[in-house]
């Protein structure tokens, strides 16, 4: 379907991709060395540990913190859990509950390693089977009902109350939405635990909890049948609990996850080692669960200038791609992000926008690219905003984007009202239908503004990646290479949750999924 409207220098594309690969390899060395509290909590969760103690602290946290405080976590929670399972003959959940009391699992006598391994294998198998089942159900749904026509219409709900979110998500689906993202409440990403249960109080978003995932997924299953289209569900696999959320999403059949390699570092000031380790494990889970990730390059253009820094988006896409592939994601799972953020006052801005959108499209022909709407230059002028969104809709259908996050006319005002979303859906539907096959109709002038802009950006990408490959990704970030934001190499939140793995470190999920995904952990 995709048309090669631009002529790209394939040599340069290859060079850029190789540079990104070498950048990813460097980071991978660090990733290999570390585990984090949330990775270990993820293992606990996958073993079936759920719920909270009386104070509302998740049992996964209680368990992992206990082992960590005891200085034993470098061996991996799996080992200690496995040992306890054999020692106590109880289910993981019961063990965790007892840990909320006075059980200290690090102090249990060490059991027969063969038995421990057996029981670990059993529980690992059980969890992975549950995930595979959900993956299968998704595939069945997609097969039977189909999904919409690309660009898929992706809208957010963000009322703060999961039950209001449900009403709005269903209304949106009925009006043509293909994908629903439940935005998280502000600052959830900095919580070093995942809240529990259904929730009705959030600011600018709704808590990501396993119960909320479940409520929304089943509401969407219902409406999917009604509209005859499988409506996909998205949440945020980022912040301090990346892999835990990946696990929850895998179990509750989310379909996409925001899951970027660098977003947490840049936009949430999360420690680098923490982020790199977490994103790796979370991506393995997403890969295994057949979930499409959405990367967050659009965010760069909200703090940096979208024209000058267009190349940072494509460069980051390439890095996200390489790190994603390393974690076992397949090209069809890489919802690489970019955004329509040029200043609307710019003469010929639409041409420059087409240039980058089309370039990215051609560099990643198999990726379900995620195209983000204007946000930074949206103002309280909702009428103008609606027109900016129309041009964005057009750019998207014209450059063959896959996942299309609908711009809201009230972007500068509030998280979307029910009606805002519908107006946006109508806007997108009209523009995309009206210009449905335009992409196949036109070609760009070989020496034109668009082609030249594409070439200039690609050149910049190569230089930029060369520099980063030279310095290393971490140092580059510390020097403000992305989003005009500098983050200290050793600073950031969640740093004390990073541990060097011991020589006897064990993570049966990483091992097992790694094998199945064909991942090479170095």
């Amino acid at each position: 379907m995709m048309k090669e409207q631009l002529s790209l220098d394939q040599g340069k594309v290859r060079q850029a991709r190789e540079l990104a690969h070498s950048i990813a390899l460097q980071v991978q060395e660090d990733i290999r060395k570390h585990t984090t509290v949330t990775i270990e909590r993820t293992v606990a969760r996958l073993f079936g540990i759920d719920g909270t103690d009386q104070d509302g602290i998740p049992l996964a946290n209680i368990l992992v913190d206990q082992v960590n405080r005891a200085g034993l976590l470098d061996r991996g929670i799996a080992f200690w859990l496995g040992n306890a399972l054999v020692a106590l003959g109880q289910a993981p959940q019961q063990i965790a509950e007892r840990c909320a009391g006075d059980l200290r699992i690090g102090e249990l006598p060490l059991q027969d390693p063969r038995k421990v391994e057996e029981v670990l294998a059993l529980y690992t198998e059980r969890a992975l089977t549950a995930i595979s089942k959900q993956r299968q159900r998704r595939e069945e749904y997609k097969e039977r009902l189909g999904v919409g026509e690309e660009p898929l219409k992706y809208v957010i709900v963000a009322s703060g109350n999961i039950f209001e979110d449900v009403k709005q998500a269903q209304a949106a689906a009925r009006q043509g939405a293909d994908i629903i993202a439940v935005i998280r409440t502000t600052a959830q990403s900095l919580l070093d635990y995942v809240p529990y249960g259904t929730t009705t109080e959030g600011f600018g978003g709704t808590y990501a909890t396993q119960a909320n995932f479940q409520v929304m997924r089943s509401a969407l299953d219902e409406v999917s049948e009604e509209v005859g289209r499988y409506i996909q569900l998205v949440n945020y696999c980022s912040g301090l609990c990346m892999p835990e959320i990946a696990a929850m999403g895998a179990l509750e059949r989310l379909d996409m996850m925001l899951n970027d390699a660098m977003y947490g570092i840049l936009f949430r000031d999360i420690n680098m080692d923490r982020t790199f380790a977490d994103q790796y494990f979370s991506r393995m889970i997403n890969a295994y669960a057949g979930i499409i990730i959405n990367t967050g390059e659009d965010n760069y253009l909200t703090t940096a200038d979208a024209f000058e820094k267009a190349h940072t988006v494509l460069a980051s896409n390439l890095i996200n791609e390489q790190m994603g592939l390393k974690a076992g994601l397949k090209p069809w799972q890489l919802g690489l992000g970019h955004a329509f953020e040029l200043d609307p006052k710019m003469r010929n801005g639409f041409l420059y926008e087409l240039a980058t959108a089309q370039t990215i499209r051609q560099v990643f022909p198999e990726a379900p690219l995620k195209y983000m709407p204007p946000t930074k230059h949206m103002t309280g002028d909702i009428f103008m905003g609606h027109v900016q969104n129309a041009m964005f809709n057009l750019a998207s259908v014209l450059t063959g984007q896959s996942i299309h996050l609908l711009g809201m006319l009230t972007e500068a005002i509030h998280t979307p009202h029910l009606a805002d979303r519908i107006l946006s859906l109508e806007n997108a539907h009209y523009v995309m239908e009206n210009a449905r096959d335009l992409a196949g109709e036109i070609s760009f002038r070989p020496d034109g503004i668009i082609q030249q802009r594409s070439e200039a950006v690609l050149d910049q990408v190569v230089c930029f990646l060369q520099e980063i490959a030279g310095k290393g990704l971490k140092r580059s970030i510390s020097e403000g290479y992305f989003a005009d934001i500098k983050r200290p190499l050793q600073g950031g939140k969640g740093r004390d949750g990073v541990l060097r793995k011991g020589l006897d470190y064990q993570n049966p999920f990483m091992t097992k999924m790694g094998q199945e995904l064909g991942v090479d952990h170095d």
């Binding site: 963000a158 709005q168 309280g380 005002i413 509030h414 009202h417």
Partner: protein
């Protein structure tokens, strides 16, 4: 009792825009805020202010204090129970036993015929055939810019059961003047009770029609079936 819904039950969210005849500035912004407050909005947000040289355009959001008691709103008769093409013709044959005669026109200075044609002509509108196509209806479409007097004359001449009036131009309430004139003429000539008077147009609604003394009023999205359903039922009722 219901209130506007933004993204949560009872939040009362309303969007508003208007122009004030004063230059932009903090004062104008405050004036806009106060106006919205007078309209019964709380937490008023002036989200956009644009100077139009001597005028200022505003966009606002706020939370509406007012609410509506649905029980106080009478359920409209027509709501939801429309007959089909066949049912209507059958109904006329059975219940009235003769053709129903209908005369329509765009009256006064109004030359917008598309709406009336959509109701009356063969082709109809939105996939729904026009009145002309109904075997049991006899229709006369007089076209545009027809004076009320001529319309009533014609109605008498052909022994009309019903008169359909279309009014599209509403600037300075020109339609109100014109529709009122029609009713007055019909009354003066003692034709009012003999005719079913129906008015339609994009700015017409049932309450306005009733207020002006018409038997029914039809707004945007009307098709021939809506009109015919009402018409034949009303005739049967009067018989």
């Amino acid at each position: 009792m219901i209130k506007p819904y933004g993204d949560s039950w009872g939040d009362g969210q309303v969007q508003l825009s208007f122009t004030l005849p004063i230059p932009a500035g903090p004062r104008a912004r405050e004036a806009a805020r106060r106006l919205a407050a007078q309209m019964g909005l709380d937490d008023v947000q002036v989200v956009h202010m644009k100077d139009l040289s001597g005028f200022t355009y505003f966009i606002l959001y706020g939370s509406c204090r007012h609410s509506i008691d649905l029980d106080q709103i009478p359920l409209a008769v027509a709501e939801g129970e429309m007959m089909t093409f066949e049912e209507i013709n059958h109904f006329v044959r059975e219940r009235l036993g003769r053709k129903v005669v209908v005369v329509g026109a765009c009256t006064g200075t109004d030359a917008h015929t598309v709406g009336l044609d959509a109701i009356m002509n063969m082709k109809g509108y939105d996939g729904d055939y026009g009145l002309e196509r109904y075997p049991m209806l006899e229709t006369y479409n007089l076209g545009s810019q027809v004076q009320n007097e001529i319309l009533l004359q014609k109605a008498m001449e052909v022994g009309a059961d019903a008169v359909l009036v279309s009014q599209v131009v509403t600037q300075k309430n020109v339609h109100i003047q014109n529709l009122t004139e029609l009713i007055e003429m019909a009354e003066a000539e003692d034709l009012r009770r003999r005719l079913i008077l129906i008015v339609g147009g994009p700015r017409i609604d049932p309450s306005l029609a009733a207020e002006l003394g018409f038997d029914a009023g039809f707004g945007p999205g009307t098709t021939a079936r809506h009109v015919a359903t009402f018409l034949v039922r009303e005739l049967a009722r009067r018989n």
